[in-house]
């Protein structure tokens, strides 16, 4: 096979996070990330990478640099205090008989 003379570009494209809405009424779910030179191309790449089997009706792309993430170092102060506060869970109510759709 004659190899196309593709230029060897450095991997210099920014990273984008991709969110797909599977169908109307559901919220967009994060599905992964990809590289693209700009937002318009990121949407098109997302269409090819994440919706080629009919997974979605709507796509969002967000620059990964725009996302602030909690740090693994802060995991304890962020999340541990919730563990012993059982009153935050709706487990102390008797469900009256005959209540439907609860």
């Amino acid at each position: 096979m004659s190899a196309p003379a593709a230029p060897r570009t450095p991997h210099g494209w920014p990273l984008w996070e991709v969110f797909v809405r599977a169908r109307r009424g559901l919220s967009h779910q994060h599905v992964g990330s990809l590289h693209a030179p700009d937002g318009e191309m990121a949407l098109r790449n997302a269409r090819d990478v994440y919706t080629r089997r009919g997974e979605g009706v709507s796509l969002w792309v967000v620059p990964s640099s725009a996302i602030l993430a909690s740090s693994p170092d802060e995991q304890d102060p962020f999340f541990d205090p919730a563990l012993d506060k059982a009153y935050r869970h709706p487990t102390f109510y008797e469900v009256p008989e005959g209540v439907e759709h609860l």
Partner: protein, 262 residues
Amino acid sequence: MSTPAAAPREAPTPTTPPLVAYLLGLGDDALILAQRLGEWITRAPQIEEDIALGNIALDLLGQARVLLTRAGEVEGAGRDEDALAYLRDEREFRNVCLVEIPNGDFAVTMARQLVFSAYQYELWTALRHSGEPVLADLAAKALKEVAYHRDHATQWVLRLGDGTDEGHRRMQAGLDRVWPYVDELFTPDDAAAQLPGEAADPAALRARWTAYVEDVIARATLTVPTPTWHSRGGRAGLHTEHLGHLLPQMQHLHRAHPGARW
């Protein structure tokens, strides 16, 4: 032999029915371009682009399968899509020369994609009303695919043309490389001319194609090339040397192992 009109000892060169010839032309365009685009897989500038080109190639392959299958049915000689794709020789292929030229760099491929997908967009738009039901059905499906192919090529031509100096230079060189093959797309075709209710007249597609493509080229700050020569003859089986190298690669597995399956 008792009949007066005895069959000649050697079969005459069979004349291909116009509908078969027309279906083969459209099917071979899609098949050969799918093969060319497949050469980009693992070689595209980015993995995302690898997937995009692979998707486009598979769309075209799907179109080719419908067209070649139907061509075989209409011909009635027992040839299926595999027989037509893998067991014909170069002179029996009816694709335009544009689809067989080598990929070149990414800009050449995008120039070819812009030209061909904008052509196919007009073609399938026209064929939605074809009297041949398989063509009309395929047109409805393929039009959505090709709208994306055309958009994909447009985005890249705009970015490369209106981007860096090197991108601009290479994109212009890409247009210059493929433009001699443009006229052939719109050359009146014997088969199409004999199928007024079923085929699309190639010449009638040109005005809308030109309006779209020249708008993209202008927005990309590029120049519409004015080639000094024009390819012709692909629909009659007269091809560039490049098809002769493409076919063995595409066909050798099936010829070595007839009916091979995954």
